[in-house]
Amino acid sequence: MENKQHIEFSADALALAKKLMGRYPEGKHKSAIIPILHIAQSEFGGWLSPQGMDYVAKIMDLQPIEVYEVASFYSMFNLQPVGKCVIEVCRTGPCWLMGAEDIVNHIESKLNIKVGETTSDGMFTLKTVECLAACGGAPMMQVAEKYHEDLTFAKVDTILNDYQNNTKTPISHWSKDKIKP
């Protein structure tokens, strides 16, 4: 878990942010705040610190409070440090009918953490989330941008081992390879 963040966008991220701000009518560039927060979360290790949000306010020419109030409303933004991979298990209706609770319990015991916690090696944070529009593939979970559906215990084990072995730097909803102007 990285608490000290390097608070500056890469050149590509900055160019992308500028491009996105240009997609709205003149004077309405505030509209780009959510997409830019996604990019910030990806650039800043999977979460948004006050300094990270202040940086977004600066490049967007907004008051910091305008950024805080948005970041704190939407469930995808992590305002506390997280592990390199955030596991988001859907807990709503159809997924629950198909055994989402079992999946959560399985991950909790496998990783030895509770929902909301991060493993001691800083690799995984476990979250439960509301319906992700994948009810036909219930139970399901999301890790970074990827949907994993029709989960079984064995499948979860394979997926988590895969992330454990192949994740060197934090991954986020807006994947790093898509940060291009």
């Binding site: 948005v70 409303f73 709503t92 629950w96 009918l97 198909m98 036909g136």
Partner: protein, 447 residues
């Protein structure tokens, strides 16, 4: 086999690419539409009888006709791709598999409305679909279907995709507009309606993905032909997201009017209940619509077969009927605990309430707390009555329909399954350890 207007090319390899989409007749409707006047297109959509596919079922053509053209302000079309209604996953599928169908629909619809700037607001969790759409939009610009002077007609349109940040409430059109303006998703008081004052206080139409993706088919076949599909005031085809305890979960395009029984049990659709179990209940149109027990989802109170249509599903009002809603069809077998399911739904609405209106903010919290108490064996018979009173105090008393959506599942669960709630509070020990869902081992055996 019913007609397939939206899913016809879903199996085609590479349909995500513009070239392949074109080889299968893609963008022909756009070329046809650009030879008509905007009003002719609006009339065509009105004639088709298409109703909003997001859940409310308001006639799309009529919604378009309300847009303020007199003030001279810029007009916008915003596609609502914030699909978050539990049980619904059709729009994600449609955009992921055939993005150009939505883009073609957006261009035709924007032209009909006189919009020169349009957005697709897609829920943030679907960022991988956002990138698919971005790629498809870039191809459309390249091919001259977007940008300045589209296909030499003099019509200009800029189309952008915009991701949200994770909030069910942003599926409500005024909350979506607030969110698109870069704010918290707090719904606005209506009137003024978005058609008069929407995005940046300019006239705006917000339409669901499926509604917009249907427009190319309407243009291709003509509104009158389209209106021949379906039954009564339920015209055309509809995507149904089938999930829960069925053999074949997935997206099915049906002609409206298909009998519910056929949809659940036929091998062409859901294929019946898993493990040979009995059907207990269905939530037919996304978690917000009233739950119905097996006997009332298969037949109306009058004993007529229930059909997959706006009218038939709502036959009997909320006393014995429900709604087609978004087409999120959640099937529950005989092992399902309605009480636990209701707790799950109520927790969802509490989590997703934006907090603006007291009845919803406080009421959803209390409903969750009371159900939590019942679930842990501390409920009383009075709690069941209290839940009933609470939901009545939320229904119709909030700025946006999230309050109603939170109240209806509670009302219908108690209306149709009161004895189960009473048994739960009187004999909690019977219910506490019940495995109401398939555990993994069991699931494997059934697969």
């Amino acid at each position: 086999m019913g007609k397939k207007l939206l899913t016809e090319h879903f199996g085609v390899q590479g349909i995500q690419q513009l070239q392949v989409y074109k080889q299968h007749g893609g963008y022909a409707s756009l070329e046809k539409a650009l030879k008509k006047t905007p009003d002719e297109i609006v009339n065509e959509v009105m004639t088709s009888g298409l109703r909003g596919r997001g859940g409310a079922g308001f006639p799309t053509g009529r919604k378009w006709s309300f847009i303020d053209k007199k003030s001279g302000k810029p007009r916008y079309l915003v596609c609502n791709a914030d699909e978050s209604e539990p049980g619904t996953f059709k729009d994600r599928y449609l955009m992921e598999v055939n993005p150009h169908l939505l883009i073609e629909g957006m261009i035709i619809s924007s032209f009909a409305l006189g919009a020169h700037l349009s957005y697709i607001y897609i829920r943030g969790e679907l960022l991988y679909v956002y990138h698919i759409l971005e790629k498809a939009i870039a191809e459309a610009y390249e091919a001259g279907y977007l940008g300045k002077n589209i296909l030499g007609t003099g019509y200009d349109l800029e189309l952008y995709c915009h991701p949200g940040g994770g909030a069910y409430i942003c599926g409500e059109e005024t909350a979506l507009i607030e969110s698109l303006e870069g704010k918290r998703g707090n719904p606005r008081i209506k009137p003024p309606f978005p058609a008069i004052s929407g995005l940046y206080n300019n006239p705006t139409v917000v339409n669901n993905v499926e509604s917009i993706a249907t427009v190319p088919a309407i243009i291709a076949m003509g509104g009158e032909e389209y209106a021949k599909i379906g039954i009564g005031h339920s015209k055309g085809t509809k995507l149904i997201s089938a999930c829960g305890h069925i053999k074949k979960p997935g997206i099915y395009e049906i002609e409206l009017g298909l009998p519910v029984e056929e949809f659940i049990y036929s091998d062409e659709y859901c294929g019946g209940i898993r493990g040979g179990r009995k059907l207990k209940a269905v939530v037919a149109g996304g978690s917000s619509v009233p739950i119905l027990p097996a006997e009332l989802i298969l037949k109306t109170e009058k004993g007529e077969p229930r059909l997959m249509s706006y009218e038939s599903l709502s036959d009997g009002g909320f006393t014995s009927g429900t709604m087609l809603g978004s087409g999120g069809f959640i099937v529950m077998d005989e092992t399902t605990s309605i009480v636990k399911n209701l707790f799950n739904f109520t927790r969802f609405y509490h989590h997703e309430s934006c907090g603006q209106c007291s009845p919803c903010r406080e009421g959803t919290a209390w409903m969750e707390k009371i159900l939590h108490r019942i679930l842990h064996g501390h409920g009383t018979l009075k709690d069941v009555d209290l839940l009933w009173t609470l939901q009545k105090n939320i229904d119709g008393k909030t700025i946006c329909p999230l309050g109603d959506a939170a109240a209806w599942p509670v009302a219908s669960a108690i209306r149709h399954f009161r004895s189960e709630f009473e048994d739960f509070v009187q004999h909690p020990e019977k219910h506490l350890d019940v495995k109401h869902y398939f555990n993994q081992i069991e699931k494997k055996e059934l697969a």
